[in-house]
Amino acid sequence: METSEDAGLGSGRRWLPMIRQLGRRLLLALLVVYGVTLATFALARVLPGNPAYLIVGPNADPAAVRAAEDSLGLNQSLPAQYATYMKDLFTGHLGVSLTSGQPVIRDIADRFPATLELALLSLALAIVMAFAIGIPAALRPRGMLARIADVVSAGGAAMPQFWLGLVLLFFFFYRLGAFPGPLSQYPGPVEPHHITGVLFVDTLLELNFHAWVLVLWGLALPVITLAVTAQPPLLRIVQTQMRRALSSDPVRTARAIGVSPTRVVLNDALRLTLGPVLNMVALVFGALLSSSVLVETVFSWPGIGQYAVQAINSSDYAAIQGVVLISAVTYVVLFLLVDLALFAVDPRLRSRS
């Protein structure tokens, strides 16, 4: 499949397969998004109960119910209803949440930064763990660190997230009192100003370092929980790719011509691992975004996941639909971006037919 030999084609012909590949990916992403909208539309249709009753109340007379059905377009044919649904989607209407009384899109926009903050910091910590343990483990495959790496990745993969969160809370909040409990996102007395919504960025932008430290303190336990359970695939891929890179021709050549060992590892070998690692980073990020539901529940973190759980508990269907749609679309866009990044990083992919 991977033909690096024909990379020396004429410059015009070299770009053609790449453009075709990208076009294919884009088309596929659009198709998937279309499928997702069909699914969320279907979801709303199979929900138990008549949504008209949610508007007029359970004891309304039949005329009022029919009027509500008309206003919701429930008497139209399914394709017509779907068309209305799509039109609403394109204009950014995801319906109104029953619990908050706000448009669902507003609710999601309010809560997305909290989830993003959690996911990004956890991803960063997971990446650091993966490289810090993975590279030394790859350098000495039979050494102590390689064994530790095995334990860390096997243990992290088997660890139930919600349980790890509780264990950390028990030790660091209840026993030691060193970290804030599952009370709110911001443990300080005064909330920082809303700039991006991502608190640890906002406090930095305000140069409010005291608040920044507090925010990080509050983030510590949920971030550790997520990072520990999300790192195994990253650690494993860094380890295997690094080991492969170290025995590859370019690295052996660099060694042979006398490049210093540190430079060989950190420059030549590391570059060879980047493509596959980047791909895995995206997969892990996607998993983090979706599995943060559990950690958000444990730590009462006001993100999308907690919103979804609350929506479910109060049968807030528009909110549920909105969350599912938004997270699926985020997923698709994320993987499309990764494909693009991979094309930029790995020249071998460009000439693949």
Binding site: V32, F162, W163, L166, Y174, I320
Partner: protein, 278 residues
Amino acid sequence: MDTLLVRRRRSTLHSAVRSPALWLLGLLVLVAILAHVLAPFGPTEITTGGDFHPPSKTYLFGTDGNGMDVFSRVLYGARKDLLLSLAAVAIAAAVGVLLGSTAGYIGGWLDSLLQRLSEIVQAFPVVMLGMAVLVALGTTLLNLTLVIALVNIPVYFRIVRSVVLPLRESEFVEAARCAGNTNTSILVRHLLPNVWAPVIAQFTVNFAWAIQVIAGLSFLGLGVRVPEPEWGTMVQQGSDAVIRGIWWVSFAPGIAIFVTVLVLNRVGAWMERTWRVR
């Protein structure tokens, strides 16, 4: 004289006996089967120990907020978690093998259609999809099992398809076709035997994953309901008490999930090693 196949089977057996993960898995299954013999109390029996009794000789892992014995419930939980996950993954594997082999062997528009469908299913974040479907169809055990099965079908579909597709044009299939075999018999007798090793290895890993997802959804209140003994539900039951220092209600069921998933993953890794899949 031993044939190569017999020798290979024997070496698999030898390595199996020496694998601690397999022994532990056997032990776990035994615990699940014998839960009613091993457990000192019934799974939903309200003991005389009262609520939140700390671990003691009578109540090994203490009692929960309803005065039920945590140790007994963890043992019965093994039954519930293993059975539910097994059912879900078995359905996924059966459907996935069927669709994957058909798509890989026949190809054409059916193959493209199934590929796109599996990509759409995989485009959904699993926990979110599970939540949505359970809310829509009701949080019953059957729906829980079916959701887990649904999200796993693409995994088997892809594996089986990728094994069958290159073999479709191979000489032994050509020969079988020339000898007058029907498509069905070629698929079942000549192509599917190549599929079992990767499918079973994947099955084990998926099994572990399903336990985690079932426990996670139950933790969110979307799976197995209180007072049914299920590990995720049990962790949730104790979660409010943990920050008041009552650790034992959530502790043991969490460990149970951890150990079971760890053992299953190790068994999966052992299978991949011995059968040289991937």
